[in-house]
């Protein structure tokens, strides 16, 4: 039982680490991309926003398969040797959650710019004070977007299974372990791990909700 506990802990930490890396990667290009999209109001940027909106529901197995063919030894990026490594999962998940981050950031910031900024100015705030208000409100929205992306990354199975390979002690994460334990017939352990996963994403969701309420209250 001791060994099992340690393994579950290791898998949970690995999941957080892999999906956390994915989220950081996604943030690093999603925020600048979103800001560009907001600032340039031409047809192309609207098209890109629509495209990202559509890509939110991209099936993970489709992305996983595409990445597999790209990262495979016989694929165009096979020389990197990334297939079946934790980094391959991180990259896949970062691509998966980019549309979520971009969509949330662009839509909420556009609204925010219209509301907070105008209101602050109307209420007699200086431009500096208005910027502070915008930034403060914006930070909350940003965190919400990041948590939503992270939640999706932690809970996805397709990418982790296909490009990670579910290798014991290396690329095995919570979702792939659940799938494996199911094939082994260990329903009890699968449920136990499911609860761990659910707890994780519930914590994140509650965090998102509470940030949302606080944001709205202000």
């Amino acid at each position: 039982m001791e060994g099992l506990y340690q393994e579950v802990l290791a898998i949970t930490l690995r999941t957080l680490w892999i999906s956390g890396t994915a989220t950081i990667l996604a943030i690093s290009w999603s925020i600048p991309l979103s800001l560009i999209l907001i600032s340039s109001k031409n047809r192309i940027s609207i098209f890109i926003q629509d495209l990202f909106n559509a890509l939110i529901s991209l099936p993970t197995v489709v992305l996983g398969l595409a990445l597999y063919l790209i990262l495979s030894k016989s694929g165009p990026l096979g020389f990197l040797g990334l297939l079946y490594t934790p980094l391959a999962i991180s990259i896949g998940q970062s691509i998966l959650i980019t549309p979520i981050l971009v969509s949330i950031i662009t839509s909420s910031f556009q609204k925010l710019r219209d509301e907070v900024w105008e209101t602050a100015i109307t209420l007699g705030a200086s431009e500096f004070q208005a910027s502070i208000a915008l930034l403060r409100e914006g930070t909350l929205l940003l965190i919400r977007a990041i948590l939503a992306g992270f939640n999706r990354a932690v809970g996805e199975l397709g990418v982790a299974l296909i490009v990670g390979g579910n290798i014991k002690g290396f690329t095995r994460v919570l979702t792939t372990t659940i799938a494996l334990e199911l094939t082994k017939g260990n329903f009890e352990l699968a449920i136990y791990l499911g609860i761990v996963l659910l707890t994780l994403s519930t914590i994140v969701t509650v965090a998102i909700r509470s940030l949302g309420i606080r944001g709205a209250y202000r």
Partner: protein
Amino acid sequence: MSSKALIIMVLAIVLSVALLSLVYMLSTSGKQVVLRVSTTTSLYATGLLDRLADEFSKEHPNIVVQFIAVGSGEALRKAELGDADLVLVHAPSLARKYLEKGVIYGGRIFAYNYFVIVGPKNDPANIAGLDPIEAMKKIYEAGEKGYAKFVSRGDNSGTHVRELMLWRKAGLNPKGKPWYIETGSGMSQTLMVAHEYAAYTLSDIGTYLKFSSKLTELKVLVDKGDILVNIYSAYLVRESKNEKYAKKFIDFIVSDKGQEIISSYGGEEFGRPLFYPVKIASIEELKRMWNELAEE
């Protein structure tokens, strides 16, 4: 797009590339050789392979064995794409195709056991103790009359390939029949579906035993006949750069020590071993059976 925006974008890309390479360096540190083994699920899910790998790494601490558990069809395909150094499969007819293509070579039989036809306890098709082909005919008849259902893997796995062979030998094609259910998933899920539907299915004995405490509606009805022998073989992959290490692993699992682990695995838990080792006396017989199965 303004020049400011461009600068931000370039910075972002540089930042993420830097981050990526940092993580990459961290993840590939260490001087160990990684041996990728694509293997059939039925072998991996029993836990035998992890056991073998643990013992192997005691002798060769510099080699890390990583298993990718998929169906036999997918395992061989991965070898063709160059994503595996070693393949462990139990589908002679599939393996033969890849042997002929030159993707894999150096096959060694390292274990065997039996497929069994399991079905509902009351056995509506009356197949208990029959010859496997006769049993399939009876299931077909009962299915057509609406007394019985059959659950198929439907995933091009070794077990699925064997099931299709049984139907072909019986001269029947159940595909598309309302009583013929294809799950497209692993053995234990398929057994669970059979349990829920009180249906017949073909299973490897290892997975069935490992799982039998949850399958209260099912029992083994047919377990005799050469055509039910389930042969596990290991193959080297021609494209692999780790051939030397892959050979070491195969040598280990066919060695006395490896065979001892295979023959004792699961004995305590299930009252009978899940796999049989390949003894000198039986190797020629197994090779003959493998060839017969590969012809199909």
